[in-house]
């Protein structure tokens, strides 16, 4: 039997495939039978937060910042309560990261403010002496992409039944409604910022990337 396999490339390939697929079938597949269950109180992201999350992803913040607090005292002391699976139920994709060049951000909303982020993103080393993080001044100039953010929220609602518009959950509605809500949400953040260009742009109906990013980071709790 073994030697037959060695001279029949087709069946050999089938054999190899079965062997390597088997692990995935047993370990990975069953867990998709039950979709990730959110914790009580875990809510999907608002449109503005999704826009901020996309800024986070576009700049691969996850290359240096983890979003996973492991159950060790040294980590809970530093970053807060350890992470639970249900908290990530609406994270598509997950953003755990693999290298903590900078600190963990899973609960950064608990201990950093809009004001802190504004100063820090402009010049990290001025806020944290010795910081090696790049400056992100360009986020104060580029506009957040609410359309793509809405498209993402709409897609997860339609395809994956993410509970937007359900009682006690964020409202999504039509694009115009979502845009209005995002504008209102952004207003609170802009009010806490100093940068005049960002404020002026906001008055003209333009939300900058930095505003969306801060909305996302403040929501990480």
């Amino acid at each position: 039997m073994f030697h037959w396999l060695e001279k029949n490339p087709f069946f050999f390939a089938v054999g190899v495939f079965l062997v390597i697929a088997y692990a995935g079938i047993v370990t990975i597949l069953p867990d998709f039978m039950e979709s990730a269950r959110p914790l009580k109180g875990t809510k999907p992201y608002t449109t503005l937060q999704i826009a901020g999350r996309q800024v986070y992803i576009n700049n691969s913040c996850n290359a240096c910042h983890s979003q996973l607090i492991r159950p060790f005292k040294s980590e809970t002391d530093r970053y807060g309560k350890y992470s639970l699976s249900g908290e990530y139920a609406y994270d598509r994709p997950f953003l755990w990261g693999s290298r903590r060049t900078g600190p963990d951000l899973h609960r950064v909303g608990n201990y950093r403010t809009t004001d802190w982020h504004e100063n820090h993103m402009l010049d990290p080393a001025a806020v944290v002496p010795g910081s090696i993080m790049p400056k992100y001044g360009f986020m104060f100039k580029k506009s957040a992409d609410l359309e793509t953010a809405y498209a993402e929220a709409y897609t997860v609602k339609k395809v994956f039944n993410v509970p937007y518009d359900k009682p006690g959950m964020p409202k999504l509605g039509s694009y115009d409604e979502a845009k209005k809500a995002a504008y209102k949400e952004a207003g609170k953040i802009v009010a806490g910022m100093k940068n005049q260009d960002v404020k002026d742009a906001y008055k003209n109906g333009d939300i900058k990337e930095i505003v969306a990013l801060i909305a996302y980071l403040n929501g990480l709790k």
Partner: protein
């Protein structure tokens, strides 16, 4: 026997991919050196606005070396080794030549799209699977083309039994196909919502599930891009260059099945102490340790192939590349399982020890093997001697020094930072703020960047040597049987 002299092996496609290997190797490692210096000297991050930040460049580095340098190295060696061990020439089939060319050009276009999109920040954020759906489709197409070319060539072979290297190439093809498809399941948002960026997509999986699929992929991408095809290379190039048959062909078959059985179960070790089920984590740990056996089976088999022939190490620098590659393979396949032990992982995870481990494998094992393979192929593809033996020697020692600097500094950096994160003072409070643990790494990061620079300089020496070999070295009349001729 004489009649087959009319046809020769056709290396057109192999040559194309050799050029791609060299160019993408330079690009990927140059970006790697830049981001390594950015960590040590952060002002370098601010030179090119959003396009020069560490975050934008890091995926470009990993993807350019994994799917640029390594993948084209795999393709180049396949289009060389495949013909030879199956004893059939590409020139015998017009169809396969066409598929080969198509494969190459679609690959080049895809690479160009990847470089542009990653610089623009178009990414799905999943490590080694950052490409958005249009590029994913292109990758599927070129992968299928490679499959057609593998099985097409096998279909017209003369040799009845497949050589062990071909086994490994087939496994690479199947493994990457399966992993890539499942990890990149995503829904394009534009087609559902009718607005936003057309190339944007959202992952099919959420949260912990997404993490499980990603690291099942991430871990096994390492298996099927950095391990399996590289073993395919060493099983051909080391015996051929040294003129020694494999120490035990049976052992090579056993290690093959061992590797296939065990590797896929070990992905959980990337998620220790995370929120995925406990049994997945424990199983990941256990299988990582079992994985030492098949890995060392191959490595020891390679080293024993040189039994009684160690003198060649003095005379032939290419053998040095192969032997050091096997040694680094042993080192990193021992280091990996150690890091997968839960208590060690608690310290090592999220630190520089992990990139340190990856680079033992990629620089020492993958890099040396591909460099050595192309040195071996060059005189046969171009019918000329290798341009300079001295340069090969110098490159070998420079790069070896670079790798040693790289991994020693990263070991120290990783363990230092891991210990500092958990250090407490006499009252049980954390002893260091996060930034303390960053500042302390500066000397190690500098050393690492210099080590990487040494390796990059070596790659430039290699590129120059191959270029000179192809264009102006002394011609050889007859193809050398074993050791590659060099001036």
């Amino acid at each position: 026997m004489q009649s087959s002299n009319a046809i020769n092996y056709d290396y057109t496609i192999a040559k194309c991919f050799t050029v791609a290997t060299i160019v993408l190797g330079i690009v990927g490692m140059l970006v790697g050196v830049i981001i390594a210096f950015q960590l040590a000297f952060p002002e370098l991050s601010n030179l090119a606005g959003e396009y020069g930040t560490f975050g934008r460049l890091r995926p470009l580095h990993t993807d350019a070396v994994a799917f640029g340098f390594t993948a084209s190295g795999i393709f180049a060696t396949w289009y060389y080794v495949g013909q030879r061990v199956l004893k059939v020439s590409m020139a015998e089939s017009k169809f396969l030549m066409f598929i080969g060319r198509l494969h190459f050009w679609i690959y080049i276009l895809t690479v160009a799209a990847v470089v542009v999109s990653l610089l623009m920040g178009i990414t799905t954020s999943k490590e080694y699977a950052e490409f958005e759906w249009p590029i994913d489709i292109a990758i599927v197409v070129l992968w299928v083309l490679w499959g057609v070319s593998i099985f097409g060539l096998i279909g017209i072979r003369r040799e009845r039994v497949l050589y062990i290297s071909v086994w490994y190439y087939i496994a690479t093809f199947l493994g990457v196909a399966m992993l890539y498809l499942f990890n990149n399941m995503e829904v394009p948002t534009y087609f559902i919502a009718g607005m936003g960026k057309w190339y944007h997509s959202v992952s099919m999986y959420a949260g912990s599930n997404d993490a499980m699929v990603q690291w099942w992929y991430g871990h096994n991408a390492v298996a099927f891009v950095f391990t399996v095809p590289i073993i395919a290379m060493i099983y051909y190039f080391l015996p051929k260059e040294s003129g020694q048959p494999i120490f035990s062909y049976k052992l090579s078959l056993l290690s093959f099945w061992g590797l296939m059985f065990v590797y896929l179960w070990a992905g959980g070790h990337h998620l220790l102490y995370s929120t995925v089920p406990d049994w997945v984590q424990t199983m990941g740990s256990i299988f990582s340790i079992i994985l030492i056996l098949p890995s060392w089976g191959s490595a020891i088999n390679m080293l024993l192939t040189m039994k009684g022939e160690w003198g060649q190490l003095k005379e032939n620098p290419l053998v040095k590349f192969y032997v050091l590659a096997s040694t680094f393979y042993m080192l990193s396949t021992l280091e990996g399982p150690i890091q997968a032990i839960k208590s060690v992982n608690a310290l090592a995870h999220f630190t520089d020890w992990i990139p340190g481990h990856v680079h033992d494998g990629t620089l020492g094992w993958v890099g040396f093997m591909i460099i050595g393979a192309i040195f071996h192929m060059a005189p046969r593809m171009f019918r000329r001697e290798i341009y300079s033996k001295k340069l090969v020697e110098a490159q070998f020692w420079l790069q070896t020094t670079g790798i040693v600097m790289y991994f020693t500094s990263m070991w120290i950096a990783g363990i230092t930072q891991g210990m500092m994160w958990r250090a407490t003072d006499q009252y049980g409070n954390l002893a260091y703020s996060f930034i303390d643990t960053v500042e302390v790494l500066h000397p190690y990061w500098t050393l690492r960047a210099v080590g990487g620079l040494f390796f990059l300089i070596g790659v430039f020496m290699w590129a120059y040597n191959i270029y000179k070999t192809a264009t102006s070295s002394r011609a050889i009349e007859k193809e050398p049987q074993y050791a590659s001729p060099m001036a």
